[in-house]
């Protein structure tokens, strides 16, 4: 059996290392099988360089039609499984066709790569960056090795960042006015605000603030929209009286949020909403949803 298995085993071990691998920040990333792996983090305009090391197994030789390394930016729709759309594809040829008998190392470098989109793992769509090493072989099939990497891009603080203020209500039943201090938040931001109760004629159980993510994929008639509630944060317990104002303070850090993505490569969008939900004693829900924009602010050096 061992011998048989050996036949299907790749003839060599391929490893990809980054030149600044020791210093580079690693971030956890969920893999398809549900496990989490740590993956190096890159930003757009960075140079991706490193080495590809090919080490044939003992006593084997690898015959090939060439070795190359590619940097791919892919968008993968789950309902259209296996069909990747590469929006970025850079190639470096590492070796001319030949045979490899012993461990061989190839340096590579992609200087100042434009990686406009962030890595994203959604319900129906995935955007990923990957280094792909190909040892091209004829009939035996090529030997492939992937190295995922995560790309995060910082955005500058927005110049205009108005607060969200709105008055809503049900006639003669409930009138509230809410206010969130901004409309654009960075991922470690805190949402501050207030809910004013102008008229209260229903008995309330509680009031929650939800962060909802709306992911839409595809276009036109094939658009798929998936909404997830990422955070459910209780704001208030009990029924307030008229004139009461309830503070809002929601730290975004503990939640698994991404920046807002608008129409990424015409393939998908990810939007975030704050949903204010009032639940009355009969478990009826009254809610109002407001979009907020999330962005990734350049973090301090410490983090």
């Amino acid at each position: 059996m061992n011998y048989l298995l050996g036949a299907f085993k790749p003839a060599c071990n391929i490893s990809i290392t980054f030149s600044d691998g020791k210093n580079r920040k690693q971030v956890p990333m969920k893999k398809e099988n549900g496990q989490t792996a740590t993956v190096p983090l890159f930003h757009s305009q960075e140079t991706i360089s490193g080495k590809v090391c090919i080490e044939p197994y003992q006593g084997k030789k690898v015959e090939h039609n060439g070795v190359k390394v590619e940097l791919l930016g892919q968008i993968e729709m789950y309902f259209d499984r296996g069909n990747f759309y590469d929006f970025t594809s850079l190639v470096r040829e590492l070796d001319v066709p030949g045979e490899i008998y012993e461990r061989k190392t190839y340096p590579f470098e992609f200087p100042t790569v434009e990686m406009p989109y962030e890595t994203y793992n959604g319900v129906n769509v995935r955007l990923r960056y990957v280094l792909k090493v190909t040892i091209a072989r004829g009939y035996a099939g090529s030997i492939l090795e992937y190295q995922e990497l995560v790309v995060r891009n910082y955005a500058p603080p927005p110049e205009i960042n108005n607060s969200i203020k709105m008055e809503v209500g049900i006639e003669d039943c409930l009138h509230i006015e809410f206010e969130y201090n901004k409309s654009k938040y960075h991922l470690k931001d805190v949402i501050l605000g207030k809910i004013y109760f102008l008229l209260v004629r229903i008995k309330m159980k509680n009031m929650d603030l939800e962060i909802r993510r709306r992911e839409s994929t595809g276009a036109g008639a094939n658009t798929h929209v998936e909404t997830e509630t990422l955070a459910k944060f209780e704001l208030m317990d009990g029924t307030p009286v008229r004139g009461e104002s309830i503070p809002v303070r929601l730290f975004l850090a503990p939640y698994d949020l991404t920046p807002t993505h608008r129409n990424i490569n015409n393939k998908f969008s990810v939007k975030y909403y704050l949903n204010l939900v009032l639940v009355d004693e009969e478990d009826r829900r009254y809610f109002k949803q407001q979009e907020i924009t999330l962005y990734r602010l350049k973090e301090d050096t410490s983090s």
Partner: protein
């Protein structure tokens, strides 16, 4: 049923708290911050329950509270280990549920303040603001109570190690005030939670929670640096604003009391108008009297405890402020019951008596205000109010222990007017009792007048009110008191005393037939006492009409007694006439004495019909007449003759006999030579003996046997003879006595007489006198009797 459920829920929740507390402790022990937070939040989630009644919830809260103490220590250690407290402060706010989040926030907040990394002010502000998120009354109350609890020893104050500046201190004050306000709102709101049929139960439960709210006031009072200025300008107005605005009876009542109890006395004194100003604004159902009485009681004690405080009371015009405030309250609360308003005045009165004991005008003012109030309601009919009024009226009495002081209070009688008859009488009795107990000296006619005016319900019957149901014994008791009272009235100056008597008479005469027999005698005797002190009539050098002369007094008494005879108390009247006659005799007023006697005779003739009464009366007449020295011969003869006449007209022979031999004394006065008419004495005795004979015959005839009675009569007569013999009446001869003795002997021989001992002792006496030396034995030697041999 519900209680069972309650118990079940509590047990379950407690178990969950315990379990999570255990895990939390384990996480703490292994320095696992994340788990510690997780399990503490889970533990605190149990407090989110709506199923427990307040006292059960309290149990649960206390459990959680104890656990949070451990967490607080852990947080402190954690910061010591280099964990940023700011981070922790953020971290706890990640909790998804509001209640655990806020409990944790308060816990870490208190550590934060202690760490001095930030200004306490910012944290306190943040905490109190964030706590708004819990609007559920019960849970909110407990949460804020927790906030109070964990921050109370960390509030910045002047001189504390935490930030010394004034701003921080004012902010701490602001913090407590705000927390108090919010708690009170929640507390008040509690009553509207749930169905209205359980309202009563809810109010009861709510009452159990009041101390949670009150604790804030306590914290305020403990806060260093809250001086009078701050209290007056900030603390009190803010508290009162909340109290007034919450428009809730329970809260207002409790909080007012709280304010009064927790803050120092001198603060109250200096801010009296503010505090009192709030009272009329309270809900009409609030038991203001309890509130005000609490305040007044406190201030009274304060005044009592420190002498230095008294000037302050005067300075701030505490009295007039109270008086004004109570007036306002009464005005504002239209449906205030009479008893409640009286109670208010009662407390004001007590306060006044305590603090301004020497200000009678204030006391009077209180009474006056009370009158004004009562005049609106009319006479008091309900028992409670009546009782209150009695206590009210009693207060000054007990304080001053002197009715004389009370009489100076012009409004006192006016208050009494509003009492119903029963109560009024009860009050009058109290007043009289007070005088008697304290031996109050009431010395002027004006006072007496006022006093009787005050106690008039005892003195006279009221129009249209018939005390049929009054217990006779009680009535006697009452009138006895009045009688004793009359005796208490005394003045050294006869003129004034005369006026007093005049006044007393004026009042007493209104008393009606039932009272007069009981009240006139003391008046008479009191007046007679006076007569002995005044110089006798005609010697009055001034000839002043108004001045007291015995004649005038007796004149007055004459009229008074006459009234008695009109109310069929002629027996009494007769005696009093005789007393007066004697007094007149002592003053040498013959005409007056004669007049009295005439009246007495008239009464005897016309009014006294009972034979026994006649006997007694007659003996009194004879006795008195015997002592009269003022009469001239003619007058005396007339009176004596009449008395003799009455004697012979008595119904029974023995009575006749006795009366007649008593008449003998009328002709013999030891100390007066011109009144020794031996002949008439013997005449009387002889006549008496004849009557005795007749009596003897009558009894022998009717019964066949001799009765002891008439033998006794003979012996009595014998004694009379002996008496006059001793006194030296020449007409009493040995023969007469001898024959009488013979008669007695023959009579006793006939029958065995019960009068034996009497006879024997008489005989022994005679024997004894005979053997004495001196004149007496000489007189007795004249009697020659076989018996003696």
């Amino acid at each position: 049923m519900i209680a069972d459920d309650d118990e079940k829920w509590l047990t379950a929740a407690t178990a969950a708290v315990k379990q999570n507390a255990f895990y939390m402790q384990r996480a703490i022990d292994s320095n696992n911050l994340k788990d510690a937070l997780k399990f503490s939040a889970q533990m605190l989630s149990e407090l989110r329950t709506s199923k427990l009644a307040p006292h059960k919830y309290y149990e649960l809260y206390i459990r959680a509270f104890n656990e949070l103490g451990k967490l607080e220590i852990f947080f402190r250690e954690e910061t010591g280990r280099g964990c940023s407290i700011a981070e922790l402060y953020e971290l706890v706010q990640h909790a998804g549920n509001i209640l655990p989040r806020l409990y944790l926030l308060c816990t870490i907040g208190s550590v934060y303040i202690k760490s001095k990394d930030v200004t306490a002010t910012d944290i306190l502000k943040d905490l109190v603001e964030m706590c708004r998120a819990v609007q559920h009354p019960l849970r909110g109350l407990f949460l804020r109570s927790y906030l109070t609890q964990v921050t109370r020893d960390k509030l910045p104050s002047i001189g504390s190690e935490l930030e010394g500046d004034v701003d921080a201190h004012m902010n701490a004050l602001e913090f407590v005030l705000q927390n108090f306000t919010e708690m009170n709102k929640l507390w008040v709101r509690m009553q509207h939670q749930g169905p209205s049929r359980e309202k009563e139960k809810r109010e009861k439960e709510r009452n159990e929670l009041r101390d949670l709210v009150g604790k804030n006031l306590h914290v305020l009072s403990q806060l260093d640096g809250v001086d009078l200025g701050i209290y007056r300008d900030t603390v009190l107005p803010r508290i009162l604003e909340q109290v007034v605005n919450c428009k809730d009876e329970l809260a207002q009542c409790y909080l007012m009391d709280c304010i009064i109890q927790v803050f120092p006395d001198d603060f109250h004194l200096q801010t009296l108008d503010v505090l009192l100003g709030a009272c009329p604004q309270l809900q009409s159902s609030v038991d203001i009297k309890t509130v005000l009485s609490g305040l007044m009681e406190r201030l009274s004690n304060y005044a009592a405890s420190s002498v230095e405080a008294l000037p302050n009371f005067l300075q701030v015009e505490a009295f007039s402020k109270f008086n004004y405030a109570i007036g306002k309250v009464v005005e504002a609360q239209v449906d205030l019951s009479a008893s409640a308003s009286v109670t208010l005045y009662l407390f004001l009165l007590k306060f006044t008596l305590h603090v301004y004991a020497d200000r009678l005008d204030y006391v009077d003012q209180v009474l006056g205000s009370c009158v004004t109030q009562l005049s609106a309601t009319g006479k008091l009919c309900d028992d409670k109010a009546a009782k209150q009024i009695i206590t009210f009226l009693r207060a000054p009495l007990e304080k001053y222990n002197s009715v004389v002081t009370i009489l100076k209070l012009t409004n006192y009688p006016r208050v009494m007017e509003y009492l119903d008859h029963e109560t009024n009488k009860a009050m009058a009795i109290i007043i009289v009792q007070s005088i008697l107990e304290n031996s109050t000296h009431i010395a002027t006619a004006n006072e007496v007048d006022a006093l009787f005016e005050l106690t008039k319900s005892l003195i006279k019957d009221f129009d249209g009110i018939i005390d049929d149901e009054v217990d006779e014994e009680d009535f006697q008791e009452e009138q006895n008191s009045v009688a004793r009272l009359v005796h208490m009235l005394y003045n050294d100056d006869p003129e004034e005393m005369y006026k007093i008597i005049f006044t007393v008479r004026k009042h007493i005469l209104t008393g009606g037939p039932k009272r007069l027999p009981l009240t006139i005698p003391p008046l008479v005797f009191s007046a007679l006492k006076l007569i002995r002190r005044v110089p006798s009539g005609d010697e009055n050098p001034f000839g002043d009409d108004a001045s007291a002369t015995p004649k005038k007094i007796l004149q007055l008494l004459n009229e008074a007694i006459e009234v008695l005879s009109d109310v069929s108390a002629s027996d009494l009247a007769l005696r009093l006439y005789l007393q007066c006659a004697q007094a007149a005799n002592d003053c040498g007023l013959e005409a007056v004495a004669y007049e009295f006697f005439t009246k007495a005779y008239l009464l005897y003739e016309e009014e006294i019909s009972d034979s026994k009464a006649q006997v007694t009366a007659l003996h009194l007449i004879i006795g008195t007449l015997q002592r009269m020295r003022v009469f001239n011969v003619e007058n005396r003869d007339t009176l004596t003759y009449k008395a003799q006449g009455y004697s012979t007209k008595l119904l029974k022979k023995p009575d006749q006999c006795r009366a007649v031999y008593e008449c003998a004394h009328l002709f013999w006065a030891d100390e007066c030579e011109n009144m020794k008419d031996g002949e008439r004495v013997v005449l009387c005795l002889k006549r008496a003996q004849k009557i005795a004979d007749a009596a003897q015959k009558m009894t022998t005839a009717s019964r066949g046997t001799s009765s002891t009675g008439s033998v006794a009569l003979y012996v009595e007569l014998l004694n009379k003879y002996l008496y006059f013999l001793e006194k030296g009446n020449p007409q009493v001869t040995g023969d007469t006595i001898q024959s009488l003795a013979e008669l007695i002997r023959s009579e006793t021989k006939k029958v065995e007489s019960g009068a034996g001992p009497f006879i024997n002792s008489t005989l022994r006496y005679m024997e004894f006198q005979r053997q004495q030396d001196g004149g007496m034995s000489e007189k007795y030697q004249k009697i020659k009797m076989e018996w003696f041999e």
